[in-house]
């Protein structure tokens, strides 16, 4: 039963990872930008929510929509003001600039909030769980996060597939020049893509802040988990990303169950390495990128 419990927790954890991964994948897909600051940008919204909660005495859940709007604006401005200058100039410039942003962001958060762990207090719901039997219980909060991941991925699929903006995203992704000739403002599209990416990670970032604690140094780990989920699932596929997140989450919780919690993250990494070695295109690869 302990194993079943670990498996359930792993699947639910996978939902959270896929929320982080979808944002990373969206940015890479639309503009071939590898955002090394992505992890820190999942931590930032938790601090934004913390400030809102402290200032307005809000329940953290209500702060999520406001934080989403703020993070969308942050993403839009970050892209238009800075990152648009490196899009299309090769991978290296993007990696270096986003690494620089990561350094700045992490240290700014350390300056503002210290390295101490912080938490968002949502009251009773944090400890509520659905008790299936004595040994197996599913927490409401992890379940809500998982369901939110399902909703986000579905909405994103519909948005990309059915709306005018989604078509523009795909057009820019396929052929930047041709899209521009058709009258698409690529600079605006990239900025919206970054905004949407941060809006999505805000959900995961704040929910995670409610579920556990967070500190400014967690960013690099979040980036790596998101990246592993993307690669395991297959680049360019949203459902693949969910699958990748679940595989990674399962690897971590089952690994902890088998070898002890110190090995949990390492087992997750090893599963990523094995999948990269035997199936580098991931499980549900849709696009071939060069």
């Amino acid at each position: 039963m302990d194993w079943l419990n670990a498996a359930v927790q792993g699947i639910l954890l996978g939902g959270l990872y896929s929320l982080f991964a979808v944002g990373l994948s969206l940015v890479f897909g639309t503009m071939r930008l590898t955002n090394l600051a992505h992890g820190d940008l999942t931590i930032l919204p938790a601090y934004v929510a913390l400030m809102i909660v402290n200032a307005l005495n809000f329940n953290p859940f209500y702060s999520i929509p406001i934080t989403m709007v703020i993070m969308f604006i942050v993403g839009y401005l970050l892209q238009r003001g800075l990152l648009n200058f490196v899009v299309g100039k090769g991978d290296v410039a993007g990696v270096i600039v986003t690494f620089g942003i990561s350094m700045v962001l992490q240290n700014a958060l350390l300056l503002g909030f210290t390295a101490n762990s912080q938490g968002l207090d949502a009251g009773r719901v944090e400890n509520l769980s659905i008790k299936i039997n004595d040994r197996l219980a599913v927490g409401w909060l992890p379940l809500i996060i998982f369901l939110m991941a399902l909703v986000v991925i579905t909405v994103l699929q519909v948005y990309m597939g059915r709306t005018k903006m989604g078509r523009a995203f795909r057009a820019v992704s396929d052929d930047q020049e041709a899209a521009r000739l058709m009258g698409i403002n690529t600079k605006h599209i990239w900025a919206v893509a970054m905004g949407v990416s941060l809006l999505i990670v805000t959900i995961g970032g704040v929910m995670m802040g409610i579920r556990t604690t967070f500190d400014p140094l967690l960013g690099s780990q979040r980036l790596i988990f998101a990246f592993e989920a993307v690669i395991i699932g297959g680049m360019g596929s949203s459902w693949g990303t969910l699958l990748g997140g679940i595989v990674l989450g399962l690897g971590q919780t089952l690994g902890a169950q088998a070898f002890g919690s110190a090995w949990s993250i390492l087992v997750g990494h090893m599963i990523f390495v094995i999948i990269l070695a035997v199936r580098p295109q991931g499980f549900l690869a849709k696009t071939v990128t060069t």
Partner: protein, 344 residues
């Protein structure tokens, strides 16, 4: 190559040259500087010598990082993995196997090369920016493995007993000479590698990897060699740092801050030149000595400067100098010179 040689032999109309007399003079001058630096511990105090160990180890790391990025187009944010492995390999060889620490440095470099090989075959499956995160994952895996082994002291780290026993009078000059040697090795390896046939392939890859491949350059193998050199070099430096600091801790040895420094140094100085990292390391050192006491602000300044230079002046300081003067301290450009009697 053969075509150029044939033309030279038959018509004696042109020749390919790399260095000129000024470079020769600078080369001799450079040798004198290295000799003067090698004698440094005999006339300078320990604090200054220790500071120069920091300087040379960073310079060596920056040169290896620059070799990977500037020539093979490999952007690694995971060299701290090899630095850490080098530190722990030194501990393994000097404290467990009781080999002289200064000799163990060589084993650390070999250890780095051995790990670089499977690591390369994994990360090379990833493209572009995702390759960068892949190198980071490798570094994290190495850190977690080391931190989970009880014998190495786990997360709290371990003291290098063999290095402590050496005593200051041996350890400080010894680690200084190794640090200086590592910087000289890094520069020499980069210079002679780039002057070689592989170097021509590397520069072709840097300029356009698709075109290079279609002209017969084995992209995968050339990148692999570079990655292995980078891994071995960083492990060597990691071992020197371990002797220098006497203590190894996973969090410090495998710290992502190493990559932060290397990116800053190479980008500010100029990626894809040997001179760039030298200038970059000097600037970094001036900044470190003046602002590192401000903690987080110091990292914020490093990050912002790296961003500004990448966006608005991607060639760095040395790139700017070259554009203005076309002068190279370490000449790597092959230039065509028409001989007398040629029509043009």
């Amino acid at each position: 190559m053969t075509a150029a040689k044939a033309a030279t032999l038959e018509n004696k109309r042109f020749t390919v040259w790399v260095a000129n007399r000024t470079n020769l003079a600078i080369g001799i001058f450079g040798l004198l500087i290295v000799v003067a630096l090698a004698l440094f511990p005999t006339y300078a105090g320990t604090p200054l010598t220790r500071r120069l160990v920091d300087f040379f180890t960073l310079l060596a790391l920056a040169q290896f990082w620059n070799l990977m990025l500037g020539y093979a187009g490999l952007i690694s944010v995971g060299q701290q993995g090899f630095i850490g492995i080098g530190s722990y390999t030194l501990w393994l060889f000097s404290d467990i196997m009781h080999i002289n620490p200064f000799i163990s440095v060589i084993f650390a470099a070999i250890g780095g090369a051995i790990i670089a090989f499977p690591a390369a075959s994994l990360v090379f499956k990833l493209k572009g920016g995702y390759l960068a995160i892949g190198t980071w994952v490798i570094a994290e895996i190495l850190r977690l493995i080391v931190a989970n082994i009880k014998r190495t002291g786990g997360g709290s780290g371990i003291t290098i007993q063999a290095a402590t026993k050496l005593g200051t009078t041996v350890r400080v000059p010894g680690s200084y000479w190794w640090a200086l040697a590592s910087a000289v090795i890094a520069i020499a390896v980069t210079y002679f590698l780039l002057r070689s046939r592989t170097g021509l392939a590397l520069k072709a890859i840097r300029d356009n990897d698709l075109a290079a491949e279609s002209n017969g350059v084995n992209l995968w193998r050339t990148k692999l060699y570079t990655y292995i050199i980078g891994g071995a070099g960083c492990a060597m430096v990691g071992a020197i740092v371990a002797i220098h600091l006497l203590r190894v801790q996973p969090a410090a040895a495998f710290s992502i801050n190493w990559t932060g420094y290397l990116i800053f140094i190479s980008v500010i100085g100029g990626v894809g030149t040997i001179e760039g990292p030298i200038i970059g390391t000097i600037i970094y050192f001036v900044l470190r000595e003046t602002t590192s006491k401000y903690g987080e602000w110091y990292f914020i300044v490093l990050g912002i400067l790296a961003i500004i230079v990448t966006v608005w002046s991607p060639a760095g300081i040395y790139g700017y100098v070259v554009r203005k003067t076309n002068f190279f301290l370490f000449p790597l450009q092959r230039k065509l010179r028409m001989l007398e009697g040629a029509k043009e």
